[in-house]
């Protein structure tokens, strides 16, 4: 009787919540390529709540059980990086490009592509060694790596830069992330906006547009040392995980959640209108940029900048 009443009660919860959960398409598209797959078990927690932005293992990618409720993303492997094909038009605005792909935004041809698994309905794309009916083109208004145009027959989609393909023991300087978005110096950034840390890209404070403050941010962040995922992970978790293991606690528990709860996000917008996200962990003094798959230890200066300029 008690269970029946509980069941009836749950059946009567607000339809909006049911809708929200039914429409949910999964955590942010964090995709683990094969080279990082060994880390998946250890880093699963981080991948969820830190929203690092790793690409899916390709094998998982085409064999999802969630096809109807959450179509898996389709990636393009090109120029030592992953690009995500943006099928949901509303995501385009988030990244700073217009929904409609018109002739005016279609730039020059970059490369012909083919499905990695031709028999799959949904598959990753790789570079083809001959002319095909699938190609990658430049985005004419901002011809950087950040956004490109994917054509499959007569269908056009934006393809958004996910991350460079590096190993977990490698790192890239933060300049490489800025390059992707066409940022050569501070004047290429028009705003820095704090957002909620739930990957909704919803702002929770006013945008910083003062050029002097932006310049200070750029100059300080530009000199930070890059750390690989492995180094970062050892630095942050190795001791604690060892202790947890010794006392029999599951290693994927508290440590990751604690750090994840500390995460804060900012969105950087360029003069071309492109946007990308950066995560930082104020209590632990780390910055994570998914574009480079690298971590940057915060200096006292950049820590001060965040403290002074973001609530």
């Amino acid at each position: 009787m008690k269970k029946k009443k509980i069941s009836e009660t749950i059946n009567n919860i607000n339809f909006n919540y049911i809708d929200e959960a039914t429409q949910y398409k999964g955590a942010i598209k964090n995709h683990f390529p094969k080279i990082w797959y060994k880390w998946a078990a250890v880093a699963a927690c981080i991948a969820l709540v830190l929203a690092i932005g790793f690409p899916f293992a390709k094998d998982l990618f085409i064999s999802s059980d969630y096809k109807d409720i959450a179509d898996t993303v389709m990636l393009i492997e090109y120029d030592n990086a992953y690009l995500e094909i943006i099928e949901e038009p509303k995501n385009n605005e988030k990244f700073g490009v217009k929904n409609e792909i018109t002739e005016a935004v279609i730039g020059k041809h970059l490369v012909y592509l083919q499905k990695e698994f031709p028999e799959a309905e949904r598959s990753n794309y790789i570079v083809a060694n001959k002319e095909t009916n699938i190609e990658l083109l430049e985005y004419a208004p901002a011809p950087y790596k950040a956004v490109q145009i994917f054509r499959d027959g007569d269908k056009y989609y934006y393809a958004w830069f996910c991350n460079y393909l590096i190993k977990t023991n490698e790192s890239l300087p933060i300049q490489k992330a800025f390059e992707v978005y066409g940022i050569d110096d501070a004047s290429d950034i028009v705003s820095i906006t704090p957002t909620k840390n739930d990957n909704t890209w919803i702002t929770n404070d006013k945008a910083i547009t003062d050029s002097a403050i932006i310049s200070e941010f750029y100059n300080e962040i530009f000199v930070l040392t890059a750390f690989s995922f492995d180094d970062y992970h050892d630095f942050m978790f190795a001791d604690e995980l060892k202790e947890l293991e010794q006392i029999g606690n599951n290693i994927d528990s508290e440590a990751y959640t604690r750090v994840a709860d500390d995460r804060k996000d900012i969105i950087i917008e360029t003069t071309d209108g492109l946007r990308f996200m950066m995560h930082y962990y104020p209590s632990y003094s780390w910055i994570n940029v998914t574009t480079t798959m690298s971590y940057y230890q915060m200096s006292p200066e950049i820590t001060k900048w965040f403290k002074n300029n973001i609530k």
């Binding site: 009787m1 008690k2 269970k3 029946k4 009443k5 509980i6 069941s7 009836e8 009660t9 749950i10 059946n11 009567n12 919860i13 607000n14 339809f15 919540y17 049911i18 809708d19 929200e20 959960a21 039914t22 429409q23 949910y24 999964g26 955590a27 964090n30 078990a41 699963a44 927690c45 991948a47 969820l48 709540v49 999802s64 059980d65 969630y66 096809k67 109807d68 409720i69 959450a70 739930d198 909704t200 599951n250 994927d252 528990s253 990751y256 959640t257």
Partner: protein
Amino acid sequence: MDDSKIIELFFERQEQAIIELSNKYGSVCSKVAFNILNNKQDTEECVSDAYLGAWNTIPPQNPNPLLSYVCRIVRNLAIKKYHANTAAKRNSIYDVALDELENCFPSSVSVEDDFNVIETARIIDEFLATLNQKNRIMFVRRYWHSDSIDDLAKLFQTSNHNISVRLSRTREKLKKYLIKEGVSL
């Protein structure tokens, strides 16, 4: 096919509407039903009945989004079928999820008749509004959709353990919230 096109077919009374609905959302509907019934045959019957339910209610209904609407029909029918066959040993995810949730509701035998489903659902709505989106979705998917822990771990790209811990914390919070609001069952 777009949801709006499928609904147009319903409005035009074309049976193709059912085929398109099934093609697009059949597997999701089956999953919702199977999570509750743990039986393939019952699931198929339930989903077929749900399609009929959609056919009979659209029009006049013009649901947006269509998926949530159909899922709700499926769930209602599946629960009806579940209760109609309590003798069967189910062991479905729905059973397990209900077991988990049962402990959130403080017991008070004498006031059982006073338990108001609608009022309690409203209190749970208020509680859900206090959660962050991730925890809220996880809660609804577990206890409304009856998703398994495995499914949730895949959906949220995390470990089973992490899901269990998060759900357990949310249930603990719910229990406190229900006590504060004076709900007992």
